[in-house]
Amino acid sequence: MAIDTDKNGYTILFAVVMVIVVGSVLAFLASGLSERIKENERFEKQQNILYAMGVNENTPDSGVNFIPTDVVEDKFIERIKTQYVLVNGKVNEDETAFAIDVKKQLAALKAGDEARLPIFVGEKEGKEIYVLPMYGKGLWDAIWGFISVDKEMVVQGVYFDHKAETAGLGANIKMRFFMDDFIGESLLDGKSYSGITVSKTNNDPLNDDKQDNEVDAIAGATITGNGVSSMIKETLKAYKPYLETIRNN
């Protein structure tokens, strides 16, 4: 049977049928898989938070090793004692903090609206550790992560991730050699919250100097590095009221 594929009517019919078929395939797939995808995303977030507070399976020479997916939920419940939400400078205990989308809240904060900023308080080696989410901009797209500090504002660990930074350059912010440099650095410079700057003139490749509020930049990834610096600064600005209370405790 030959079909005249040049007729307008046929062309329109074909387009309509194709759109319906493709649309239903994708819709069916998306709704069928959405639960599993959400679960994966939850595990990933738990892994990232735990990683930032130094709960991971890294060995001295390994790459980034998270707590495995199958045990991460239990580990998260065990390690994260309380979740708080910071609203208008006031801290309230709130078990839904985990589900908050930080990107939206930071945007609201910038616009001068009320923002609900999540805080995760965990425990490691008998010490309370405070994990704060971060969200910022790299060279191509979003970068985000978590940073954890103790009472003295000394960084216990960080985790960075990115959407589309350049492979081999900016994408290296999620590599251990970069993230490990932050551990032990202080967010305070004297009394001000100066954060940690990713610096090209640090001249400290092994990162021995933990008092300088600087870590070594990645060559060729200037803008991603600046993005990380300002992301940390923005986070500090947003969370300052809370950080003040834990320092004075």
């Binding site: 040049d6 074909f14 797939l29 350049t166 492979a167 081999g168």
Partner: protein
């Protein structure tokens, strides 16, 4: 009877060398620049494109008699986009780690002109089996070049392969770095890929003068 006739074998082998989509037809250069700073990314991209092109060519070939010629390009685009999104979603559900590596490439695969080119030039006019072979062949030709570029760029630019330091440690100054060797930062930025592609084209044409165009 052989599994592949001589003509069929050529469908796979030609794009690997004498009719390579990157070095001869100069297609798909954009993604060849964008993702070859690391060998791992090159490999992931190569495998993804092999899959999308193999399946895509089959789908288009099956539909070749019912696609209206007026909207064939859109129809082809929808097929590639759907395939890529299906793969991405399934990976997100069942291979989450891998999907995170891959998600960056999704857009690059959809717009890869080699894929659209083969749909248009081959799958629309040929049978299913031959279209499948043509798709695999061209994707392999693309992948081979990607991996060669990725190999040199990562080795010379970062001193690593698949993220493993093969030339010593640049910070602790061991291996080659102990005698004054330095990584070439230029290799990591995209223009370096053009130079590597240029060298590959040069080597290929000097080995096979038949490829050189007469002026």
């Amino acid at each position: 009877m052989a599994l592949l006739s001589k003509k069929d074998t050529n469908l796979i082998l030609d794009p690997l060398a004498d009719n390579n989509p990157i070095t001869i037809q100069v297609l798909g250069i954009c993604s060849a620049l964008a993702i070859t700073a690391e060998l791992k990314a090159s490999l992931v991209m190569a495998v993804s494109v092999i899959f999308v092109m193999g399946v895509g060519n089959v789908v288009i070939s099956l539909m070749r008699n019912i696609i209206p010629s007026k909207i064939r390009i859109i129809a082809q685009l929808i097929v590639v986009a759907t395939l890529v999104i299906v793969v991405d979603q399934v990976l997100k559900a069942y291979q989450y780690e891998l999907s995170k590596t891959l998600s960056v490439f999704v857009g690059l695969i959809i717009t890869n002109c080699i894929i659209m080119g083969r749909f248009e030039a081959f799958a629309l006019g040929n049978g299913v089996w031959r279209s499948f072979l043509d798709g695999i062949g061209n994707a392999l030709g693309y992948g081979v070049i990607l991996i060669i570029i990725g190999f040199f760029r990562e080795l010379l630019g970062s001193g690593t392969l698949f993220g493993i330091q093969v030339l010593g440690d640049p910070i602790a100054k061991t291996g080659l770095y102990a005698i004054g060797y330095e990584n070439n930062g230029f290799m990591i930025i995209p223009p370096a890929a053009l130079i590597v592609v240029g060298i590959i084209i040069w080597v290929q044409r000097s080995r096979n003068p038949a490829l050189v165009e007469e002026n």
